[in-house]
Symmetry: C2
Subunit: 367 residues, 2 copies
């Protein structure tokens, strides 16, 4: 390991995450690219033609890239995924006469969603992997779901524990709701399986504090009476996410991200690239017992690669030495420790190869 | 009026509004100014040292520039001012045994706040200027305020009608809450007069979809049981606005805006400049009867200069010709028509002089 400064810098932070470099460059070039009105994208009316064009690009491209069914609305809502933890029960739990919903417990953010759901009714845990330290995705059996559940909530990828759902449960007695914050646009999912899919922006979509939300149209219009206006899906549908000023900068960045995905050949190409990136890292980790990936092999995330060193006392040195090599943000979540490499769409293959090389080198030094 | 393209472009849009040019330039220069970790400001953890430094700058400078009392908290919350229309009653209306609050009706956004308040209890109109088409600020008499009101809500500047409060009511039976979206940081206000002040970002603070909220500490911790977690002031206080990922880009831009205000000599200097800019325009408008400012002279806004042409049929030509001269966004709000020049902090004096010249020129042509 040399003492000279690294030639590169790769950011493996779990989020807010690395944007694709071409997108970051376009932000700089186009943010202040004075249009005839002299205004940057954050200085124009959200009701004017320029922003309408950006929204149109985003809606058209997202629907096409994700094959979003026509009867699913697409909303941009304030507050990230966390605000949807409130919005989902506010909008849906009234569908259940007993105000009951089912939650699958697969980690920290799944628990937070459930706790927020409990504020509005009964949030029943229908399956959990807490007993195995969230190292896997539990099976959801129909008989464990309340028959009058308003919805069943799951987290499609778990950033802290590095697990993901490969296939989603079918034939449940209520619509599936997915928090897809950390894997949206990283892989194709079949939206017809879901009633609601929501995702905070700050991993694969753009800057933080917005959520992208898709809602099947029959689930709109049943919000509890005291639902804040901006959290009501019916208001979003009626105003097309323009009831007040949306996060115009985030929507602009999303338009660039979607154009980038289109230019990569679409979501299938991006997914193949993500599978290859994750495969390279898991391959290194599985080669010896020096590293210990924590997720069950069948449920491994392709966006958050979580592992420990067999000798835990080396973790601090691993993270610090990686930083000096230009590999940033590798410390595991503060609640679990260890190491986590977050490899979203924006992480180039070069960054993953650099990390793979570092894994080998560190094992050679300390193994 | 020449057919050659204008040499300048000034954006008088009511919001999202013009940023100070030095701020816009710094965004471009610093947004991607690769720090050692190679990440732009939207690609870093909100819990890391770099963003902590930005938050610290913002908190310190805002408190100093606005003389915010120590017992007032400063929050950054998702969703702009509109979300606060829900958050204010959710947090405060439980203080009233009858769940009653008072609202001063001074225009469109004041009405929206009141309608949202009515979702959580009784929203009593304690004063209104609806009878005079919102051309002035009504007096609020103590005897018109419910004795058990949880709060009295007002809108410190009314963008649609171009009015503002010069002095705020005193000796009311409940804490004052102000929506200061369109005049925050445009003038000094005495924060000791208010229980809560909130402001959407997109006029004088930065990019859209966040709100800056100041809350006196005795008003925290009384939220209704079903308050969404992210709208609860107690959660904001406990987590210092970091319960989930905030709008890191908006907070970054606000840090640049506050540094710009500091470098102008502080809020008093900025206020003098704003008074001078507004004075120049009102001077032109008052010179003849060709233009008709709509707000009562004592309640004229210094940020939104609203007027009609004596011959209303010339309005379309006025707006179009102004655009061809590089003066954009002058059409009045769609609900009232006429002309509106929004002159926030970011509008340079050159822009105001250009508009003043255009006012004279148009009158010469069509007067």
């Amino acid at each position: 390991m040399s003492a000279t400064p690294p030639r590169h810098a790769y950011n493996f932070c779990a989020g807010p995450a690395t944007l694709p470099r071409p997108v970051a460059t376009r932000i700089r070039e186009e943010f202040l690219a004075h249009a005839e009105d002299g205004a940057s994208v954050v200085e124009i009316s959200h009701k004017g033609p320029r922003f309408a064009g950006i929204l149109e690009t985003v809606e058209t491209l997202f629907r096409r890239l994700c094959a979003l069914p026509e009867n699913h609305h697409l909303f941009f809502m304030h507050g990230g995924a966390r605000m949807q933890c409130s919005a989902v029960p506010l909008n849906l739990i009234g569908r259940s006469t007993t105000r009951t919903a089912g939650y699958v417990e697969t980690g920290l953010f799944a628990q937070q969603a459930s706790r927020e759901g409990a504020r509005y009714g009964t949030a029943k845990t229908v399956a959990s992997s807490v007993a195995t330290a969230f190292d896997r995705i539990p099976s959801v059996r129909e008989r464990d779901c309340p028959q009058d559940a308003a919805f069943i909530h799951l987290t499609s990828n778990n950033t802290v524990y590095g697990t993901r759902w490969n296939t989603f449960p079918r034939d449940l007695p209520a619509p599936l709701v997915a928090d897809a914050t950390s894997d949206i646009l990283s892989r194709s999912i079949d939206h017809t399986q879901f009633g609601v899919v929501y995702a905070g922006f700050q991993k694969n979509l753009g800057p933080s504090s917005m959520a992208l939300v898709t809602v099947r149209d029959d689930l709109i219009g049943q919000a509890l009476p005291r639902t804040p206006r901006l959290l009501d899906y019916a208001v979003q549908a009626e105003t097309r996410s323009l009831d007040n000023t949306p996060n115009t900068f985030a929507v602009f960045v999303l338009s660039l991200v979607l154009e980038w995905i289109r230019d990569q050949g679409g979501l299938a190409s991006v997914e193949r690239s993500n599978e290859a990136k994750a495969g390279l890292l898991y391959g290194e980790l599985d080669r010896s017992s020096f590293y210990r990936p924590t997720a069950h092999p069948e449920h491994r995330s392709i966006t958050n690669i979580v592992f420990r060193l067999a000798d835990d006392s080396l973790t601090g040195e691993f993270v610090a030495l990686a930083e000096s090599e230009g590999l940033f943000g590798l410390a595991g979540h503060r609640t679990v420790g260890g190491v986590r490499a977050s490899v979203y769409n924006g992480m180039p293959e070069d960054g993953v190869r650099a990390l793979a090389g570092f894994l080998r080198e560190f094992e050679r030094l300390r193994g």
